[in-house]
């Protein structure tokens, strides 16, 4: 029973990983790529770690506990890294895709960025 659940979780997780990477290849600009990649790969990796925990549940609790630690770490850091990259991309002057409908961040003059133009 737990083998079936684990195998299904593993398969779904890897399919999400594939979808995220495919989104990174197909979507048109860096912000959309971040959207697809961050969400899908984060959930995919968490599902794979969970599947490993379920599949080895009979052998040792150590794998499950370390997997849980890893999941918590990834869920906290991955959106933060995505936010930092999006902000960095906007500050470095990457334009939104031409099909975009609004850019309130640029319209407000990037508040909080506090860049002084030196050179």
């Amino acid at each position: 029973m737990s083998d079936t659940i684990g195998a299904v979780m593993l398969a779904v997780g890897i399919l999400f990983n594939l979808a995220g990477c495919l989104g990174m290849v197909r979507l048109p600009d860096v912000y959309n790529r971040l959207q697809a990649a961050t969400k899908c790969v984060t959930l995919g990796t968490c599902l794979v770690l969970g599947a490993v925990a379920v599949l080895t549940a009979g052998q040792s609790a150590a794998i499950a506990l370390r997997g849980a630690l890893c999941i918590v770490f990834i869920v906290i850091t991955s959106p933060t890294a995505a936010h930092a990259l999006a902000r960095g991309a906007h500050a470095s002057g990457v334009k939104l895709w031409e099909g975009s409908v609004a850019d309130a961040y640029a319209a407000d003059g990037e508040p909080g960025a506090a860049r002084e133009e030196t050179e």
Partner: protein, 165 residues
Amino acid sequence: MNDPHAKEGMSLIVKTVTRWLKGFLLLYGAYIVLYGHLTPGGGFAGGVIVACAFILVFLACGAGIGHRTLGRLAASELDSAGALIFTAVGALGIALGGVFFRNFIRTPPEAHFRLLSSGVIPVCNIAIGLKVGTSLFMVLAILSAVHVAVKGGRRRMVRRREDKS
């Protein structure tokens, strides 16, 4: 003291996540160093993670708070302490066993695969972890504060703040 809205460093979100995580990064580095003789890792790998904890603070909050967490003087002294401990272990090997780095701490066979085992290896790991952790942090701090400039036909490393030309 801990003002997340200061202009220095990166955005509010990165600063807050750094505040949440840095203690655990340091703890994890210490774990990798202390269990280097039982699991993958060891002095260098754990030292890199310890350095990462300080580097994350340095990147997210700026150099001021980064150096308040681990100052330049403390870093260089810990660096030297690591090197001295490592050499002292080797020298004690000569003094007690006649060979450089001779294992002079005997552990009984029933202690194998426990934390307190494998002789002088954990001591060496701790020394290497100290050395690598602090000196990698200093590498980043120094390289971010200086740059290469041409002065009088020669290339020199100069401090960025003093180089207004």
